[in-house]
């Protein structure tokens, strides 16, 4: 038996950060069951490096491809994974679990896999342990992380997505990492029918300029305290100096001050930066659900009683329109000296 983990790759090649985090939970599950951890990705074998696989604890890799699979096709991907999980080449036996990051693609493909196989799918797991054949003990996020659920999943193949923002990288189980020293990569050619390829994505070439919110190392956040659309100039300026992305709270997008794609929160983007500088943000549950993956939170707020101040690691009590210009000036002076 194996635990199969769907790997998504980055635009520049290599395993995506979300998939590396999903691999941690997959490794935990494989370790608890004494099974091998296998990676599966769509693309050529060389799309994922052997050293990357080994460092994430994978013992085996499957590169899935066929002439029909030219773009991302959610149902076709699920069909391919279903076939691979049932009968993986190389003889490790059928998969006891299929794990993916809870990204759009990961969640969607596992939902299709659940529907194809008639199996339950447990979303947003942060921990998974095999307790008996066909039984897993799970910890998963509810309300986007505001609550934690302990659950038991009974299924011959466990289908799990991983809440990547809630899993901290760098804690792969030593035994699985040691096992993964030599990673064999096999190819797998799925059998697909036309119906599997009705929905196929084309990716638009017009990549947005600037730093992506989801993967930024630093995020400068603005909330109601920014005061209006014109108030964001100072946040943009600071973000430019720090190489940061600008994120906003839900009230900002509901007011139409900023586009929704900048929203950090349960219904926006979940961020995992080294630093989140939250300016004029109260810290509602819906917002905190999106920024709980930040390593360090610094709040700048006029109200010392604002929930964000209690939840932050550091706080500056003051008006962001006074603090940020002074900060920008200090950073410029430091840069020019």
């Amino acid at each position: 038996m194996t635990v199969l983990c769907l790997i998504e790759t980055d635009a520049g090649g290599g395993v995506s950060d979300a998939s590396m985090r999903a691999a941690l939970v997959a490794a935990e599950l494989a370790g608890s069951a004494g099974e091998d951890l296998a990676a599966a990705w769509f693309g050529p074998p060389e799309a994922v490096g052997s050293d990357e696989l080994a460092s994430a604890g994978f013992a085996l890799g499957y590169a899935i491809g066929s002439a029909q699979l030219v773009g991302y096709a959610p149902l076709a991907w699920a069909r391919a994974l279903a076939g691979l999980a049932a009968e993986p080449p190389g003889g490790p036996g059928s998969a006891s679990a299929v794990v993916a990051a809870a990204t759009d693609r990961g969640s969607e493909v596992l939902a299709h896999l659940g529907a194809i196989t008639g199996l339950p799918m447990a979303a947003n797991c942060v921990s998974a342990v095999r307790t008996a054949p066909g039984e897993c003990r799970l910890v998963r996020q509810r309300w986007a992380g505001s609550l934690t659920e302990d659950a038991v999943l009974n299924a011959p193949t466990a289908l799990l997505t991983v809440a990547a923002d809630a899993v901290t990288p760098g804690v792969a189980t030593p035994e699985s990492a040691a096992r993964g020293a030599e990673v064999a990569v096999l190819t797998y050619q799925p059998e697909l029918c036309d119906g599997d390829l009705v929905v196929v994505a084309t990716e638009s070439a017009d990549r947005r300029a600037g730093v992506s919110l989801a993967t930024a190392r630093v995020v400068v956040g603005g909330g109601r305290g920014v005061g209006g659309p014109e108030g964001f100039a100072v946040l943009e300026e600071l973000a430019g100096l720090l190489g940061a992305a600008v994120g906003v709270s839900r009230v900002v997008t509901s007011q139409g001050w900023r586009p929704h794609k900048q929203q950090v929160g349960q219904t926006g983007t979940k961020i995992t930066p080294e630093l989140y500088l939250a300016c004029g943000i109260s810290g509602a549950i819906q917002h905190m659900a999106g920024c709980q993956g930040a390593k360090t939170i610094v709040a700048i707020n006029t109200d010392p009683g604002a929930p964000i101040v209690a939840k932050a690691d550091y706080a500056v009590i003051g008006d962001l329109h006074e603090v940020l210009p002074a900060l920008i000036e200090a950073l410029r002076a430091r840069r020019d000296s």
């Binding site: 969640s107 969607e108 659920e149 009705v198 549950i285 939840k311």
Partner: protein
């Protein structure tokens, strides 16, 4: 509940809603708004459907006030339903009704399961796209006017800083995200009409999913004390020092 914590019932199995009101989740509200906009542009009508306890009829009325014309409640006894059972009940309720487009909120606010729309699509044999933030009904003016075969949708979502685009024939299942539109405020006539409207009720009974909840917990934040860096611009030197320490300065 700004800034508060979500409370759990004493038995640790449910969210304590004794002090809470209910509302339609943002993704779903945007789904209804999108449906109303499509019918305003192309004709047709919007049915809103939910699965839940009798009180969920209030949320259906809120959506009728936005411009939907028919409300359907798949009424439960209030117990939590899993995604497999939920999708089964919804698929049974809409099968054979001739809907051109089944819009869902992308993921529920509570489990964030991301799977009910996909499972409904499979049950009905329809194509499905998820995570959608831009939607356009296409297929040539003739097809749109006739509302018949040939209708398609172009739907897109964010992917790695760009957009991925799907072109799919109708009927289809589409789950949408907040941000696809800014929902309108209900008009006064809309609210009056919704108040008088009849909600169609079907009682449904579900079976337990194979995923059993043992307990809900409020995550304990590592007992950290917020460090105050100072007040106003005077805090800037300490703030710059912190940024240096964190290694985030270029």
């Amino acid at each position: 509940m700004v800034g508060g914590a979500i409370a759990v019932t004493p038995d640790g199995l449910d969210v304590d809603v004794s002090m809470s009101g209910f509302t339609v989740s943002p993704h779903e509200e945007c789904g209804v708004e999108e449906a109303v906009r499509i019918t305003e542009r192309l004709g047709g009508s919007v049915t809103v459907l939910t699965l839940g306890p009798p009180q969920a009829a209030d949320q259906l009325r809120d959506m009728l006030a936005l411009g939907a014309s028919r409300g359907v409640l798949l009424q439960t006894d209030g117990a939590e339903w899993g995604p497999v059972a939920t999708a089964g009940a919804i698929a049974a309720a809409v099968a054979g009704r001739g809907y051109d487009l089944l819009l869902f909120g992308n993921e529920s606010a509570d489990t964030g399961g991301y799977q009910v729309p996909v499972r409904v699509a499979h049950a009905l044999g329809l194509p499905c796209v998820t995570g959608i933030k831009r939607l356009e009904v296409t297929g040539g003016d003739g097809a749109v006017a006739a509302g018949g075969p040939g209708l398609r949708i172009t739907a897109s979502r964010e992917y790695r800083g760009a957009e991925e685009v799907f072109d799919v024939p109708l009927p289809a299942v589409v789950s949408v995200r907040e941000g696809i539109n800014l929902p309108r405020y209900p008009s006064l006539p809309g609210r009056l009409r919704a108040k008088r409207a009849t909600i169609e009720i079907t009682e449904v009974a579900g079976t337990a999913d194979d995923l059993a909840k043992l307990a809900l917990r409020v995550p304990q934040a590592a007992s950290k004390q917020t460090k105050l860096l100072g007040s106003g611009p005077n805090a800037v030197p300490a703030l710059v020092g912190l940024l240096e320490e964190l290694g985030v300065l270029p």
